[in-house]
């Protein structure tokens, strides 16, 4: 093998058997096209999904226009389709779940990110959280029906309201349990990233551990924690199986957070197989489009807020 520096300053490596330079170029080209190709494919898939959804929902878009989003009646028998009860159901269950989950996920993030970074205890909690993230949602639904719903029902009896058990409240609790691992793991990571020298500075000024967490760690990590929460909200919005099993599949506007209701994902899953005519099917698909849009909008809002909160 020899190395020559030619007059135009290019280094050519050659050897008896292999031409490195040619192989390099070929490899690089293949690599580049694979990367570009995958990128383009992703774009095509997303556009493709969106376009086909829009196309298939054209009949109901034409038929109902904006009334589809504002209408509160969902009655396949009379071919009247208004999606507001599902939009409301989705938003209420998701945000309620978020509200329930936030204190727990922040507590777990702090516990694992700052209090017990290493050790058996933290390892155990970490694997439990990971385990929780891996439980199939049908199992959550099952557990909810047999364990959670009776408790909620008792609770509703105590409150003196109609004791359905199933409904928004039960679904939100299950959703909260399902999304805690996501926001907690993101939260833990960002809390671990808080530079130790600013924590040292705070300790050197007499701050206690609690004060360091409250006034140094959390302000520093807040955008990341928020990102985790948005991520988990995205999951809550689209969660189908567990919610379907617990929400009561009641196609009217929810009257309270204890009432049965229905969500966008659930109504699609439940009614798609029985949608016997085109307008029905296309209405369900339009709900899919709306869910797509709601998730995207919430994600964008999240990103925007994170950008504004980032520490710089």
């Amino acid at each position: 093998m020899e190395l020559t520096l030619s007059n135009n300053n290019k280094i050519t490596i050659s050897s008896n058997s292999i031409k490195y330079s040619d192989n390099w170029k070929l490899g690089e080209n293949i690599f580049n096209s694979v990367l570009t190709g995958s990128g383009i494919m992703i774009i095509m898939i997303v556009i493709g999904i969106f376009l086909t959804l829009i196309l298939s929902s054209l009949p109901s878009i034409k038929q109902f226009g904006i009334n589809f989003v504002t209408g509160t009646t969902w009655d396949p028998v009379f071919e009247r389709f208004g999606a507001l009860p599902f939009i409301a159901g989705t938003l209420i269950t998701s945000f309620l779940a978020l509200l329930i989950s936030i204190p727990f996920s922040i507590a777990i993030s702090i516990l694992l990110g700052e209090y017990f970074k290493r050790g058996i205890f933290s390892g155990f909690i970490k694997s439990m959280t990971e385990l929780l993230a891996g439980v199939p949602s049908v199992i959550f639904g099952f557990w909810g029906i047999f364990f959670l719903v009776p408790i909620v029902r008792e609770f509703e009896k105590i409150l003196g309201i109609t004791a359905y058990g199933i409904g928004i409240f039960s679904s939100s609790i299950i959703l909260a349990i399902m999304i805690i691992p996501f926001s907690a793991s993101v939260g833990r990571e960002v809390i671990e990233l808080v530079p130790s020298d600013i924590k040292e500075a705070a300790y050197a000024m007499g701050a206690t551990r609690y004060e360091v967490i409250k006034k140094i760690v959390l302000p520093y990590a807040k955008s990341g924690i928020f990102a985790g929460i948005i991520l988990s909200l995205g999951r809550a919005l689209g969660e189908t199986m567990a919610v379907t099993m617990l929400i009561g599949n009641f196609n009217k506007m929810p009257t309270s957070i204890f009432a049965p209701a229905n969500t966008m994902a659930s109504v699609i899953a439940n009614e798609f197989s029985e949608s016997t005519f085109e307008l029905y099917t296309s209405s369900l698909i339009e709900i899919g489009v709306l869910l797509f849009i709601v998730s995207t909008v919430i994600n964008l809002i999240g990103k925007w807020v994170i950008k504004r909160m980032v520490v710089r």
Partner: protein, 252 residues
Amino acid sequence: MENQILTTENLFAHYGDIDTIKNVNVSFPKNSITAIMGPSGCGKTTFLRCLNRMHELTPNAGSRGKIILHDEDLNKLEPIEVRRKIGMVFQRPNPFPTMTIYDNVIAGYKLNGIRKKRIEFDHIVEDSLKKAGLWEEVKNNLHKKGSFLSGGQQQRLCIARALAVNPEIILMDEPTSALDPIATKIIEELIVELKNTVTVIMVTHNLAQAGRVSDYTAFFYLGDLLEFGQTEKVFTNPKNEITEKFLTGKIG
């Protein structure tokens, strides 16, 4: 010697089972600047962190012996109180990135939940920034985050932050080693001025800096305090052979 502010008696410090500081007895005179010198790993940082009880925050670390501030045993005071009386400036400037310049200066109060009137805080901020020689440069940007400041300005902000709680002693661990020569010069001049209000104990690797700034020099070697005395004397006429080797660059 008269007018000692801080004294250690048979001070030992350890990480795990290993003694890193061995039986140090030293007295720091009030309103003086002491340079702590010695080869890398000899325990300078560890010693400094004992003095405001930061050392005990490190897992598996601890210390024995006595540290006396005026005539009080540091171990009998609350850590909060110790750290209000004995401030610290670190090697890398570490202002709080989430806080404005103003809030950084009064962080010592905010962190400990001490409330004061706005006008009092205004006064503390101006006073501390002036003492740290930063006021003119930041007075129009007090309510911006400190992250746009240069490294040297950030370090002076950290000094202002330490000064704001009126400490009696400020510990500095190589406060200029992350700075360029000009910023270093500014900080050195500042340290000399600080002598009027506080006692400074600083670790430095820079012989010339110790010579320019300090009144006293403490020389550590493998955890032992080999020599302590007036800088002039230690530099021109070291009692210990190892100190001399260090000063002439034969070890280090």
